[in-house]
Each structure stands twice: as C-alpha cells, then as structure tokens.
Symmetry: C2
Subunit: 491 residues, 2 copies
C-alpha cells in the first residue's frame, strides 16, 4: 500500500501490524463514519443543503440510540447500585420516586455480591451473578448449569475475542464461519492471523445451516492443510434474521462431535424470535448426550461455548457492555488459560455484570415490578415485530429485491438485483455494486445501512443489512422512494 507520509515516525501504514490492516469491520466503517458526519452537520445547522433532515442509523443494532426506552426495573436497580446512599432513604425511594420493594431488595442483593460497582470483581465475574446466570440457563433448558463454567464479559464481543485468542495457535488454525456473518468473527480471525473457513447459509430456506455444505467446506480446508478447530453458528442469525430449529442445531453438533470441533454458539438474539421458539445449543447437546446417539460417548467431551449479551433482546443495553459465555466440555487446563487471558484485562464492567443479572433474573409474576416490566417488554417486542413486518412488506414491493420472512434477531438481509448500468457505474466509481448502492442511499436519504460485502455473500449476489429498530415507518418510505429513483436512473 502506498503512503504519502514521509518516514519521520516510528509507525507508518507500511510497518504496523499487518493483521490489523487486513481486518475488516464494515458495520462501523466508511458509511457509518460518513453518516456521523451528516448527523453532526445537521446538528450544527450546516446541513441545509442536504436532501434529508435526519440521519437514520439502520446500520447497527443500537436500540437506545434509536429511542428504545430502557426497561425501568433494570435502570432503577442500576441507579441504586451507582448510589447506594439512596438505600438509606427507602421512604423517599418508595413514596417520592415510585421505586418498588423488589427494586430495593435486588439492589441490596447485588451490592452484597459485588460490594461496589466501582470495585474490580473476580476476572470471571462476580460469583453471585454467575450463579444467577447458571440458574437462568437451567430454567431455560431444563438441564443443570455450573456457575464455575460461566464467564461474564464486556459484551459478547469480548467473549469471542477471549475464546478465539486461545483457540487460534498458528496461521494454519481454521474456524468455520457462516457466510453471511457478523464481521466480528472474520475480523477477530484476521487479527489473530488465523483462517476463516467459510460455509454458506441457505438463503432459500431462511438462511439455515446445511451440514453437508459445512462438511464439504471443512474437508476442503483440511485438504489445504488447515487445522479446523471450531465452528461458529449465529442463532438467531446476524445479519440474516434466520432462526434454527433443534434438528439443524443437532446436525451441527453431530458434525462437531465427529470432527472434534469446538462449537461457538452466538445466541445473543435468543429472545428476538418471531417464529417458533428459540432452542439453545446447550439444550440440544444435553439431549444428544442423553440419547441413543451417544451410546459410544461421542458427545461426552464436546466443547461448547454459548454466548449471550445484554445488548440485544428487549434489554438493548449495548452501552453497558455486558454479556456472558458458558463453556461446557472444555479441558480444565484450557479453561485455566482462558481465565488467565481474561484476568490480564482485570474484569468486565461491573454495572454491565449487574445488568446481566437483571436480564437473566427479571421480575417474576406476582412481584411488584412485574406488571410494568411485562408491559415494557411486550411493547418493545411487538414494536420490533411490527417494524420487521413493515420493512419486509416494503421489500416485497421493491423491484429486484427479495427478502426472506423475518424469523428473528434485529435485521433483514434482502437480496438486491441491480440494473447492469448501476453495476457499471459502481465499477467506474471503483466500488462494489452493493457499497455503491448503500452510499447513494445514504447521500440521498440519510438512511445508513450496511452493504452485503460487509458480511459476505455468494459470488454474484448482492445484499444489504438493515436493522428494524428506527421508530416510525417514514424512513422505510425513504428507502422505497430512493430505490425507485435509483432503478429509474440506471435502468
């Protein structure tokens, strides 16, 4: 790469870590940066010549930036965690501020566990919170979970980073990654100088996994000398919006058992499911372990790491950076290395850990805060569903656009077929056709979405990912109008 900078410094673009340079992360890339510039132009009153009056960040799953209200119970507890002196004024809290008794009790319980949100916790996370997570998993799956196997982390991203950092031992290490995928996975593998072994999801069957394709990808990689050690599955899917059933999940686990692969199950959208029910990898694994299929014990030592997060679901607390992963079947010596790795960064944010606890252990029926919690939760869920369907409806009307029905997560990932002239115009501009389309959309409407090239797509196909988090539907009509104009221009 050519750099115009004279070499007067220690660091320049040609001598820094090449693996950082190789990493790609389009979700916060060129388009996102440009959209932020538009936003600040508008905020400073310098945007009068722009053809739009607001920027719609449909590029990133950031609900509270888009006016989703936080769940009151969570934030009431968090306010007491931040200022425990308030607990000395229970009357004022209850009568003046409407804090219910369960809010106060929960804050006291959490404070007992973490002592102060300003203190480092254990590197693995506060013991009481890990216990609460284990109990949640047990209720969810009907199978036991051990708090010692739970690692709290600063958002699922930090968990993926820790796990991958231990898994990847050489440039020949490979990890099976779905295409399309959330680019954290390819970016992390780039940083670690390991190999992405792509397997393609089946768009025509709602972006489900095809274990035959996965095996073929694995075998091909092995032929090239790649030591494939793990398989990533994102369920519900990002960017696809697909949701896997138990049979698909079990097939992946069977493949992993046969080929001795660690399964990394990214389940951060587990409550964002519109069709059917979420089934966890952990539950499927335990069922397989109990089943006839395990008579030779082949599932006994399967290594599964399942990730969850407070950033998604109806919680949407991205800025708190909270999450956890449960590791089952791992070698204790390996776990000790993961422990050491995370201890170098000391501990995950403690308020984020508390939000994890609140997410996995929300108010129960009969408790004072339950009615409000239920109402807020359901409203968010229903709004997400409504907006997903509205967006899906709009896509069905758009020329050259095909979209799978929304099943889960916070995204739609339609295919777009662009007119030949548009593809030529993109080439002339030195851009991928989907990048070109998304850039034109942003410039014309202020709506920021992410081109399919940022997630991966089959050669010759084009997609984009949009969240359905932005309130209202006016912005959807911006897209449809732009799309029509775009087609008319390049037809």
């Amino acid at each position: 790469m050519f750099s115009s900078t004279p070499q007067v410094r220690s660091l320049h673009i040609n001598n820094i870590n090449p693996h950082v340079k190789e990493a790609k992360y389009a979700v916060r890339g060129e388009l996102a940066i440009k959209s932020e510039q538009y936003r600040s132009q508008l905020a400073n009153g310098e945007g009068k010549d722009l053809p739009f009056d607001s920027v719609i960040s449909a590029n990133i799953g950031n609900p509270q930036q888009l006016d989703q209200k936080p769940i009151t119970f969570f934030r009431q507890v968090a306010s007491l965690m931040e200022n425990p002196q308030l607990l000395e004024q229970e009357d004022v809290l209850k009568n003046g501020l409407g804090y219910k008794s369960d809010v106060i009790q929960r804050a006291k319980k959490l404070l007992k566990d973490v002592k102060s949100v300003g203190a480092y916790s254990q590197s693995q996370g506060a013991p009481g919170i890990r216990k609460s997570v284990a109990e949640f998993i047990e209720r969810r799956d009907g199978y036991a979970s051990d708090p010692e196997h739970i690692y709290l982390c600063g958002g699922a991203s930090a968990g993926v980073n820790a796990l991958m950092s231990v898994i990847c031992s050489s440039p020949q290490t490979g990890v099976l990654v779905p295409i399309p995928q959330y680019p954290l996975y390819t970016a992390t593998l780039s940083l670690l100088n390991a190999q992405v072994v792509p397997y393609y999801l089946k768009e025509e069957s709602n972006w489900s996994t095809d274990v035959g394709d996965m095996r073929a990808a694995l075998k091909e990689a092995q032929k090239k000398g790649i030591d494939v050690r793990a398989v990533v599955v994102i369920n519900p899917g990002n960017p696809t919006g697909g949701s896997l059933d138990a049979d698909h999940i079990k097939s992946v686990i069977e493949l992993a058992a046969e080929e001795k692969l660690v399964v990394l199950a990214d389940e951060v959208y587990q409550t964002n499911v519109f069709e059917g029910e979420f089934t966890s990898f952990k539950k499927c694994l335990r069922e397989l372990q109990k089943s006839e299929a395990n008579k030779d014990g082949k599932f006994d030592n399967l290594e599964l790491a399942s990730l969850h997060s407070v950033s998604k679901g109806m919680v949407g607390e991205c800025g708190h950076r909270g999450g956890y992963y449960e590791m089952v079947g791992f070698d204790p010596e390996v776990v000790a290395q993961i422990y050491k790795f995370v201890s170098i960064m000391l501990c995950p944010p403690v308020v984020g850990q508390c939000i994890v606890e609140l997410m996995v252990n929300p108010p129960k029926e009969g408790e004072p805060s339950y009615p409000q919690y239920r109402e807020e939760y359901d409203t968010i869920f229903n709004n997400l569903y409504k907006r997903a369907m509205a967006l899906y409806g709009a896509f069905q009307e758009m020329e050259g656009v095909e979209c799978q029905p929304p099943q889960g997560s916070m995204y739609l990932y339609p295919t777009i077929k662009l007119p030949q002239k548009a593809i030529e115009a993109a080439e002339k501009a030195g851009k991928n056709a989907d990048d070109f389309y998304c850039l034109k959309l942003l410039d014309a409407t202020g709506v920021c979405i992410v081109p399919g090239s940022g997630f991966g797509q089959k050669e010759g196909t084009l997609h984009f990912r949009t969240t359905f988090l932005a309130p209202g539907t006016e912005w959807v009509s911006r897209i449809t109008k732009f799309h029509k104009d775009f087609y008319d221009t390049y037809r």
Copy 2:
C-alpha cells in the same frame, strides 16, 4: 508441557495458542486465587482452623473492595445517568435526597451527549466527553489538546492493548519496558508474540529512569535484530511507587526522538503523588518542541500516547472500566487503523466514559457540590499518605528489608534479603524465594501481596509489592510479626 488429559477434544494444553500460555500475570495468579479460596472459606464458616480471621487483599489496587468510599458527586450523577426518569422529580432529588443542582445539571449535560448509557457511543468515545478530557489536559499542562486525539477506553489496559496491537507487527518487534513493571506490558507483548526489551529502573535513586541504561538496552536489542519501536514509562511507578521529575521525563523523550520510538506514558497514578508535583509527558514534549533543542525539528513528529484511568487516584472506580489515551504526533493512517481496531469491540462502557468526564471535570470552587467533593478527595488522599508512611515505617524496622520512601502511586516495593536457609527451603519446594515468602505470608496471616518475580527484578534481588489501600494498620503488624517468625525459623 505434560498433560494428563486424554486427547478427546479439539483443544488441549499442547495445541492452544502458545502465546497465551507464555503470558504471565501474577497480580491475579496463584496467590490471588488462593487468597480468594481463603476468603470464601471464612465467609462460609469453614475457616475456623485458619490462623487468621480475614483476608487482606494487598495484591491489587482495588480501593473500593477495601472500603474506600466512592466520591459522592460521581455516584449521584451516575445514578441519574442510569435512571433519567429521576430527573422528572427534581424536587424530590433536591429536598428528599440532597442532590445538589450541579449534580442535576451535569447529568443532563452528559445525557445530552451520550443520549443513553445503554446506547453504544462512537467507538472512540462520546464526543462531548472527549472534549471535556481535552480541556482537562489543557488546564493541566498549559498546552492545547484536540478531542479528536482522545480515545476513551475500558480502563487503561484496553488502551494499552489497542496501541500494542497496532505497534507489534512481527516476532522481531521490540518494546522497551521498565523492570520492574506492571505485568500488563509483558503479558500483552507475550500475547502479541513480540519482544520485551527490558530496561532496569534505579532502585537506589527512587526507582528513576536512567537514559544511559535505556539506550544500552536498546542498542543491545538492535544488535540482536530486534526492531525496537516503542518505550513504556509508568509514572508514577507501578510497582515501584517512584515519581519522575521533568528532567528525567525529557531525557526519555530525547531518547525516543533520536531513536524514533513511540512513547507510551502510563500516567494512571498522576494524582497519587506524595512528593513534588506530577509532570506529564505531554507537557514536557510541548516544552521541548518550543525549546531551542527543537531547532532541527527533531521533536515535531514524536509519537506519544498518554494513558489515564478512573481506576486509580482518589477516584478508585476500577469496576467501571473507564480511561482514555491521548495520541499526539501519530500518522493519521496509523490512527485510522487504531480506530478500526477499537471499533471491532464497538465502544468502551458508557457509564465508565461518564466517570472519566466526572474525574477530569469535578466540581469547582463555588459550585454546590464542591465542599463535599473537596473533603472526600482530601480525606482519601491523606489516608493513603498516612498508610503509605505507616507501611514504610514498618518496613524500616524489619530485618533484611529496605524500602524507598513513598513518592507516588498506590504501592511500595521493598527489597527483601532472605536467610540462606529460607532460599534453600524455597528451592526444595520448587519455588522462587520471593514466591515462597509471599505464599508463607498468605498461609500464616491472610495477607496477600505479590512477589517481585511478578514484576521483574534484577538477578539476585528479591522484592514484593504491596498496596497501602487496606484500612487500619492491624494488617501491617501481621506482616511484621510473620516476618520476624520467618526469620527466626530460617535464620
């Protein structure tokens, strides 16, 4: 390394990332884990046979775990950030809860900037908070600072990780690291498979830097083909407790300018200074740039990254994971890669970012919260100083122990000379002599400190690091009594 685990899994101790295995981080290592076991034994009533009734964690700078009270103003604002609905009840806040008007104003200002602490911020940190940090630096140093050069991060550790990840490009990359040092540096370089180029601090002159030694270490490394790119300085020192004056700092900058090294200035203890005044690397750099010494422009492009944190000082908000680094003189193309790197992890915890803002912009004289802030701040400072002096006094009485007078940070790092028999007993037990001593201390007294081997020390010398954060002085007498018994046993 031998592993007893049969190879039934994908991962085992012999095939995972060797650089993770090599990394050492004693602050949270064997001793810390054992001390946590003692603590939970005592908590569960299973510790009746232990020769102590409490565990004293003097191994880690975690003030709020050791009963340091958070600063009220910070936590009042944070409680409103968590629950902005409280702002609709200003009367109750002011009259019922004693929140002052500046608390309320600050929360409103911060909320305007971040929108919600549950929303992702810009990857670099919220713009208004970065502006506040830049203004702080300007007030502190008397030289301008640009908010675009400020990167907020999840504690200084995350900043070091980002910077090192970009700097280290091959196994031949070297970074000058002080010995003794906070083991984050050596651990991070291990993880990145780069080379530690050690330079020794001068114990006899209060652990100051010696630029002659640094240059010699650099030259020796270069002779071995190591591409030395950066120099780390921790000031005030961890684990040493030393504090550098402007002349020492300027000498390091001169060396860096001559040898084209990035300077990484770890200044997280900048307010923990007991003797003289803290002087920042940034200020010294700007002075040199304006001086006659710069007539050939040799300081114009010096790359300096200065780190600060909410975890230390009188703030002590470790659990919030907040910090920042300012980068000056870096190539914009390199900065763009650092930006991309941090964007993969999305953003630092937003409450932590808010605590950074509060730290750098606390109540000012004349503002309603000022008197309480001042009182709390001064009390913490004075208690730290008193305890440092008490500990120093105790060390002066102990046989075979020599300690530099406390100048700054939160630690003392005495030399210990152990009787020959103790050294032999340690050898027999397969331990370093300092590890052996610290383990015996923990087993006998419940006081957890960190052996010098965790930070590095000159061949043939032995040290340990202890914080002076634990309240009271009873635990200090546990150490002196143990030490006497230890000597009597092995004399």
